[in-house]
Symmetry: C2
Subunit: 263 residues, 2 copies
DNA sequence: AGGAGCCTTCCGGATAGTGGAAGGATAATT
DNA sequence: AATTATCCTTCCACTATCCGGAAGGCTCCT
């Protein structure tokens, strides 16, 4: 099933995860009351859950009373495939691309109706702060997102095409336009965006394939739109993408299921 | 309370975390049955929990049926203080130390009765594979561990002193000897080990202090015991440690509670 | 002093979790 | 081909565990 909002879970585990889910990059530390509001759960319930989580070190409480993600979650996170397989294999290749023009390089996987930035390399003069590792960006307005979407299944495409948020005046919000673009992307083997997520940023992205040729991730560059023709980078990106894909298969990382998130 | 083994939790949240806790670097992917055995929970119970966790993307199931930590946990983990504060601030300093002699450099925090390796830099010719980020090593046999222990509270010291595992024939297993060593460490401001965790490895470590001078982490070098005198590094380490400590306070990371794990 | 936030503890009620038993699906033995 | 050994899944009646309103105690405002 492809749903964005998680239905108000009736299970304890679900509630506990809902509590954790209230934490994001804009809410790294929160008060009990804040968690309660954001998770839409009664204060008392959150109180109980949070304490349990704290006892197990899934959350930590700072001396000011605010809560934060704890070391247990961090430790566990390092074991995820996105981190220890994909990230580690891909980093050297990303470095190579970065060396070319010092453009920001990023790698992303599908995560529900978003694309999840797994890693990125960026110089000091980098424009967008949006794409940190762990960020989840819109599929239809990013290069890596379009690649993933183009190779996604019909159900996913349908879900995304029906809710095309606008970010800039270049953002594609017409389902028809996007759909034909996706077809082209699939045939040509790369995607590009032109200031569709943020003013002044353009990007190129190519697919990364796992076992059996399934697209499991996407590799992209993001550069300032200063007139330079990013199109020249397409061949490089495609070669790099292919080489990296090969390496990923060798590393036994052909399994899209481990990287993606179909919730 | 300072306990190592978690009591067989009676709460659902506890059980769910117990399931997650069966994953470690040696068990990154597991079958349902394996989880059940390692968590010491009935298969049926695990089955239910695991499915719930999978639905929320805390776990992923590969096409071979094995489970693995999912992207949600990874994403949340990046928000932890150990990662986004400590690690990020410390890395440049660690680089500096590494440049000196290409010795492995590591940074660690207290985690229960162990020290948790937060980050390390290591060259290709590095000896020990034991200390990856996320590893938890013994407090009494590592440089960083001794520093943390020396500055730990009485309760912690007592608990550790009562169970000194042996790793090599140099490992200190006599509580009395260790105790006096800890006092010295606290006074002199650095710790060293000589093949106490692994043959052929020596180390030096210094404390990192947060707000109010509390020791919140430790910075260490590990080198092969090839006759070179690591002692010469002590002043450098102390200066680096002090500079980094200052930076940590500036970065608003004075709060030991957020980094440590007092379970 | 009063108000508005927070966080915490308490407790009876019932919901959601429990785990044994049984069935099915492979894969490795004989 | 039959047997044994794994593993995974579904079912269901019981009750342990979670639920969340209410009440009280903080602290920081105005």
């Amino acid at each position: 099933m492809v749903t964005e909002k998680s239905v108000p879970t009736r299970t304890v585990t679900g509630r506990a995860l809902a509590v954790l889910d209230t934490f994001d990059v804009k809410h790294r530390r929160q008060s009990l009351a804040s968690i309660s509001r954001r998770a839409d759960l009664p204060l008392t319930t959150v109180h109980r859950l949070v304490h349990e989580l704290e006892k197990q070190n899934a959350l930590v409480r700072g001396s000011d009373g605010d809560y934060e993600i704890g070391s247990k979650i961090w430790r566990l996170g390092l074991l995820a495939s996105v981190h220890s397989d994909l990230r580690e294999v891909a980093l050297p290749y990303m470095e190579d691309v970065y060396q070319l023009h010092n453009d920001a390089v990023q790698i992303a996987v599908l995560d529900g109706l978003r694309c999840l930035i797994v890693e990125r390399i960026a110089g000091s003069r980098t424009l967008e702060v949006m794409s940190k590792p762990g960020s989840r960006l819109a599929l239809h307005a990013t290069g890596v997102g379009k690649v993933l979407l183009a190779h996604g299944d019909a159900e996913l495409q349908k879900a995304v095409l029906n809710s095309l948020d606008r970010f800039t005046d270049q953002t594609i919000t017409d389902p028809g336009v996007l759909e034909t673009q996706l077809k082209t992307i699939k045939v040509q083997g790369f995607a590009k965006t032109q200031e569709e997520l943020a003013e002044g940023a353009v990007s190129i992205a190519v697919p990364l394939r796992g076992k059996g040729g399934n697209v499991i991730a996407a590799l992209g560059v993001v550069a300032p739109s200063d007139g330079r023709d990013l199109g020249k980078l397409v061949p490089v990106m495609q070669v790099t993408g292919a080489a990296l894909s090969k390496k990923l298969v060798e590393a036994g990382l052909g399994d899209a299921a481990r990287l993606q998130a179909s919730t």
